[in-house]
Amino acid sequence: MKTICRIGVGGPVGSGKTALIEELVPRLVQRHLKVLVVTGDAVSTEDADHVRRALKGILAEDRIAGVPAAVRRDAVEDLESRFPDTDVVLIENGAADFVVHVIDVAAGDRIPRKNGPGISRSDILVVNKTDLAPYVDADLGVMAADAAVQRGGKPVVFTNCRTGFGIPELTERILEGALFDVGVRV
């Protein structure tokens, strides 16, 4: 049986993981990929509801699940078995083959320097909310330089989910890094 690619979207609370998933799915669907989404809801169904609304007409509601962390692995397997012809599952805060770590510019430009497993080990580091940089005196150049030191050449992508800035680049990085054998159907 074909292995469905699992992509984890992790990072601190409120950094924009759900927003990023909502931006990515239309681009992946546009590339004719069959997508599933598992959101990171801890106690509510807030995120899953939000994603369903945002992706109305793009992704069928039953391809989106919202489950607490403790049962996430089972939920992913369950969803995959219901949609076996899927190419990729986007999992907020879950176990995955490929990890996108999302940090928030507004949390301060020293975050990459402070390091941590998400910063150094993730397959792609996303620095989200670039629009907020002026409000918190964050220097994106410093963040890029520090991240480069910690990550030894692995990709760093700057995004703004409000305008879609950086999303095409992020999509390309995901296609080449994780979906190399399925991402070629154009």
Partner: protein, 167 residues
């Protein structure tokens, strides 16, 4: 180069290659079923394995027809912290287990219990981990660091996944 199947392992003894190129994977990368990375020789490897498959050190990822040229996976493991808990009295053991669990959870460190010990992978820096452990000043709990290769052989796949998998 797309690799969807392991061709064998150097330990099989069946391989007499003239040219060996190496794909070096760290402990985190070794848990992945899907990965893209350059070999020492600059070959772009795109790994796409079944979910049940687990990479081992010495796995042959590619071989030419006669097996003269091959590409081999080398797994490079970092250190693991081994923690010993007191066992004499039940109350002391329970207290130590809860205190250690609280400290480990606070750091978001993954952990596995194996053979009466708690195993924690060294995530970033052994000095940092050591000072975190010492600052708790636990009673009856001791820890030391050993090479990951010393423990990997004893670990079940799900244990390795717990310690080094991306979660």
């Amino acid at each position: 180069m797309l690799v969807e199947q392991i061709r064998g392992n150097l330990a099989d003894g069946a391989w007499r290659p003239a040219n060996t190129d190496v794909l070096r994977l760290d402990q985190w990368e070794a848990q992945k079923r899907r990965l893209r990375k350059l070999t020492d020789g600059g070959v772009d490897i795109a790994l796409s394995l079944d979910r049940g498959t687990r990479l081992r050190d010495g796995d042959v990822l590619w071989a030419d027809e006669g097996g003269d040229s091959i590409i081999v996976a080398r797994l490079e493991f970092g250190e693991v912290m081994l923690v010993d808990l007191p066992r004499r009295d039940a109350d002391g053991a329970l207290r130590a287990a809860v205190e250690l669990g609280h400290a480990i959870g606070d750091q978001h460190w993954p952990a596995v219990v194996k053979g009466g010990q708690v195993l924690v992978p060294v995530t970033l820096d052994r000095e940092v981990m050591d000072s975190v452990m010492r600052s708790h000043a636990f009673t009856g709990i001791s820890h030391r660091f050993v090479p990951g290769t010393d423990v990997i052989a004893y670990l079940a796949p799900q244990d390795a996944d717990r310690l080094w998998g991306t979660r």
